[in-house]
Symmetry: C2
Subunit: 356 residues, 2 copies
């Protein structure tokens, strides 16, 4: 389609309004809509289109069907000096996760370090949104979540753990925070979908077919294939750490007891788990000195020798922060699959599209 | 050498005595010798021979030359409700790391969760030893350390971060703890040395040559080659998280300021950093319920479908715990390179070898 090459960028504020309006239509409160739209649009502004507003339609479906509640608030089920367990009461995962990371930040102001485990949550989108909240407060943030199994273990025929996303953010001084957001699979499931939707072949190390062997047929995922764990036993091992901290410790559903937020019965809660840690740098020493050390590390990487043909060495998150600055200035270059998903939402609710 | 096939296993107690005796000969206190020998021999009993008693000679060299001190104790430089910063005062990394993890466990008894950052440490051996201490106390343990750069970043010509080991352990009930111990490189540097010493070729994704491209020539490492980061930007990103938590937050040396414990000036401290976290399950809920959930997870993995030809699915650490039980019963099957390293120590100090 030639017109896909001349699609106009979408203003972040208009995309935000669109998301909020759609969420309001299914009964989500003004505050929950605001929180959720900010997660989705921030994610799109980073260029992480697999986890941004493309997901809105799936959330709306669960909200309409009752699997995500509009009449509840996340709450603290138990807490101590440096920890809390949050019950999401099946509201949007973005709302519960923001609440939980803010709770971790608050506890870390007193104790220096805090863990918050979450149960009764749902898909939380991009883990990096929550760790960036900690970095804004001068803290190191960690975030992770479990999910219904879709990733194989070394030697398994079928999935063992979820893609179990993991993120950390570290505040710098003159630079943007270092920010990593990764799945424990070689690639996130969303990338397999997106490549398949675009008609592109997938790499040989992305998925494991029904016989337990690698395949490049993206159409097999997720019904008949599982994602490959990154670096074999290492990705698998990290996946089990995330399962332990996100679900075993918080009391959330584990592995196959987690509902599929997109393919499962939309009237039933998924009971995803999640975990958030905040480490308050200023409580342990000088924040300025710490930021100076991180700035020096970043400068060292930028100045390091590069392989032939490589223009720049990037720090994790650096590309995303640059894309975000461009997006806030010039609009977000939403790809065709995201636009198609938003057209469906706009048509269904008779809401003007954010690029119309 | 045909006799390498009929080498006798070595009793763990005799190997332990040998290590303690050698450490005592260079002035290490009885308690520090006991602590260090236990780390090294436990590591060998897991079959992780790259990080066990093979390293003893290198440590002895630093102890003799003054880069590792025998006349100091690690101490708490600063602490709060859920955190502490430990100064290792350049004693053996195993001593400081055990002290730091025990401090994290003690703090987590009160606060629920605790972080301990370490500075003025040295190479700490196998990270999994320290996390297993937490698991023994019914806590989830995390351990990590920085090191002098030896691992490339995507696009770099030369090393950017250390192998920056990472471990976690999760206590189970009827099973051994889940225990992962990994480097953020595709393989640990010790594996490159060991393969090269054994005359074996190395895999194409293990190291990056002086031009920034992969090579199978193990002799290039470490002078002219760096290790490849696992899963490219993911391993690199995790390496920077470990650098931040182990060194930027604790005030330890970072990247190229860390001394090379094995190739560097043995009379100068290396100032490695490390980080330890303990999460006290019983403070946040029922330890028994948690252990039951982990046991169920392990049983589920053991019962999961396997690819053709695969006999068992292993949980991280399971192979190592089984090897340890066999080693405590039948002796440790020390490979030839470890024996050669111990022969050098035994000859140098005139100590009877543990298999003689």
């Amino acid at each position: 389609m030639p017109e896909s090459n001349c699609l106009q960028n979408v203003a972040a504020e208009r995309l935000d309004l669109f998301c909020r309006e759609a969420l309001a239509r299914v009964g989500v409160s003004t505050e929950h809509s605001r929180l959720t739209a900010d997660v989705l649009v921030t994610t799109d502004s980073w260029g992480v289109f697999t986890h941004g507003s493309k997901l809105l339609g799936g959330y709306l479906n669960r909200l309409k069907s009752g699997g995500l509640r509009t009449d509840a608030e996340p709450g603290v089920a138990a807490e101590g000096p440096a920890w809390a367990i949050v019950d999401g009461h099946s509201v949007l995962g973005q709302v519960t996760s923001t609440f939980a990371m803010k709770k971790a930040i608050e506890l870390a102001r007193g104790a220096g370090v805090a863990y918050v485990g979450v149960r009764n949550s749902c898909h939380f989108g991009a883990a990096g949104y929550y760790t960036s909240l900690a970095a804004k407060e001068g803290m190191v943030g960690l975030a992770m979540a479990n999910d219904r199994p879709s990733v194989a273990a070394p030697g398994s025929r079928g999935a063992i753990t979820g893609t179990n996303p993991f993120s950390y953010a570290v505040p710098a001084g003159e630079h943007d925070p270092i920010l990593l957001d990764m799945a424990i699979s070689t690639v996130a499931g969303g990338k397999v979908y997106a490549a398949h939707q675009r008609g592109e072949a997938i790499a040989a190390d992305w998925i494991i077919g029904p016989d337990g062997l690698p395949t490049t047929d993206g159409s097999l995922y997720p019904e008949k294939a599982s994602l490959a764990p990154m670096s074999a036993h290492k990705g698998y091992g990290l996946g089990l750490m995330i399962e332990s901290l996100s679900a075993a410790l918080s009391g959330a559903a584990m592995t196959w007891s987690v509902g599929s937020w997109i393919f499962g019965d939309a009237s039933k809660p998924t009971d995803h788990g999640a975990a958030f840690l905040a480490m308050n740098v200023a409580a342990m020493g000088s924040l300025e000195a710490f930021q100076g050390r991180i700035d020096a590390l970043i400068r060292e990487i930028h100045a390091a020798p590069r392989a032939h043909g490589v223009d720049r060495l990037y720090v994790p998150g650096e590309m995303e922060w640059e894309r975000r600055r461009a997006a806030l200035r010039d609009g977000i270059p939403l790809p065709a699959d995201v636009r198609a998903a938003l057209v469906e939402v706009g048509t269904g609710f008779d809401i003007a599209l954010p690029w119309s």
